[in-house]
């Protein structure tokens, strides 16, 4: 059927039906392709010839209507449920009656483990590139948290293990527990909400996110981007203990600490009370000993100073005496007596020094001074 406009003078106008038909025809030129999304709003009713559902983009919530003939849908035996991730092979079409775009599904495949793994790797690479898993983002755990938040499923084991570990190691611990969904399509959103609620509690200084072991798909919510971001953005440090040692959900990479088991997580978040008390006792002993040592040192220093003070006058006299002896030595070296000691003599006439032979005449009385005394003599 051709799409013919109605002509009003120089304006061409299309009826709604004609417009829809035109767009629908144009859409048929688009190729058949695979689309990935989560099933929501699945409607399969006995009286209807077609099964309808929405495909939702888990990243940003974008939606696309899809439809498949019921016989074909049932033949696939997928037993699909809302929230499941699928690949749909189909082509876009316009539903003329409503003017709505939808995907005409030719085939549907459930998102398998292979696809999940590939998607996880992509998400991991993207978040890693963003720096969400960087070591520099990891915060130290508080030594003695005022309150501990515990986000866990209602499976008794993980919760009991964390609480037992905390209470046996540090009996005075205060724990606030948020039980939430940890499995299934709504788990990630529920855990994000529980995490926020726990952090809104006063005095919560650290949060433990724990879940016991489970199959690969059971642990998928712990790799959900929303939860990973919530863990990384948590205002207080987060310790994760999810699944078994070999499981490594992405929330473990974003956590500040990862524990291998719920018990290990419990032990990480509290100190050992016995050790703490013993350490305090040791600190007190060291405090007294250190003070004693400081006092002893001061008293020794005082005694030493006192000794120096006592000896100061004696030292002064000795120093003066030594200085005097030195001066006497120098004096002696300069005096004529030293010359006399070497065998010279001083000759005087009438008390005056005789310096020349002409100064005396034969018969004059002179005195001669030598090293050890003097004697009189007469000139010849």
């Amino acid at each position: 059927m051709k799409v013919e406009p109605i002509v009003y003078g120089d304006r061409k106008v299309y009826t709604v039906a004609a417009f829809n038909r035109g767009v629908a025809e144009w859409l048929q030129r688009l190729p058949t392709l695979w689309v990935e999304g989560e099933v929501t709003d699945l409607r399969r009713q006995a009286g209807w010839q077609t099964v309808f559902f929405m495909l939702k983009d888990p990243e940003n919530g974008a939606c696309l209507s899809a439809a498949m003939p019921r016989g074909q849908f049932d033949a696939l035996r997928l037993d699909l449920a809302n929230g499941e991730r699928i690949h749909v092979y189909g082509r876009p079409e316009l539903w003329p009656q409503k003017g709505e775009l939808r995907l005409r599904a030719l085939s549907i495949e459930r998102f398998g483990i292979g696809e999940h793994l590939a998607a996880l790797e992509r998400l991991k690479a993207r978040l890693a590139a963003e720096g969400l898993f960087a070591e520099s983002r990891k915060r130290p755990l508080p030594r003695l948290p005022r309150r501990i938040g515990l986000v866990t499923g209602n499976d008794a084991a993980a919760k009991r293990d964390v609480l037992t570990a905390i209470q046996s190691r540090f009996p005075p611990a205060r724990v606030v527990v948020a039980e939430t969904l940890v499995q299934g399509q709504r788990a990630a959103a529920a855990m994000v909400e529980a995490l926020a609620a726990i952090c809104a509690e006063p005095e919560v200084d650290v949060v433990v996110l724990a879940r016991g072991g489970g199959g690969f798909e059971d642990l998928l919510p712990f790799s959900d981007e929303r939860l990973v971001r919530a863990v990384a953005g948590c205002p207080v440090p987060v310790v994760t203990a999810v699944g078994h040692e070999q499981d490594m959900p992405l929330c473990d990479l974003a956590a500040d600490r990862r524990a291998s088991t719920p018990t290990a997580a419990g032990r990480l978040v509290v100190p050992d009370l016995e050790e703490l008390l013993a350490g305090l006792g040791r600190a007190r002993v060291a405090l007294a000993r250190g003070t004693r040592r400081t006092l002893d040192r001061h008293s020794q220093r005082l005694a030493h100073t006192h000794e120096r003070l006592r000896r100061a006058p004696v030292l002064l006299v000795e120093r003066r005496r030594a200085a005097l002896a030195q001066k006497a030595g120098r004096l002696r070296a300069l005096s004529p007596r030293a010359t006399l000691d070497r065998g010279y003599a001083i000759v005087r006439r009438d008390g005056a020094l005789v310096r020349t032979s002409g100064a005396v005449a034969p018969g004059d009385a002179i005195s001669v001074e030598v090293a050890d005394g003097a004697f009189g003599a007469r000139v010849e």
């Binding site: 003695l144 611990a173 039980e179 529980a194 609620a197 009370l273 405090l287 040592r293 006092l295």
Partner: protein, 66 residues
């Protein structure tokens, strides 16, 4: 003051006293302060009472679609 702050200060005081280089008055003041911190920490541990509270009930009931 938190327990951690008190514990850290106590450790610093012990280290300072163990070096023995504090002045006399200072040493006595440090010792008094250390004792005070010790008593604070010990009291903190003794006074704390273990408690487990359940938040989940409240969270769930607050959820219209929970």
């Amino acid at each position: 003051m938190t327990y951690e702050e008190a514990e850290k200060e106590l450790t610093q005081i012990v280290e300072q006293l163990e070096r023995g280089d504090a002045g006399l008055d200072e040493a006595l003041k440090l010792w008094e302060r250390g004792e005070e911190l010790y008593r604070f920490c010990a009291a903190h541990l003794e006074a704390a009472e273990g408690r487990i509270e359940e938040l989940s009930k409240r969270v769930d009931s607050a959820r219209p679609d929970g």
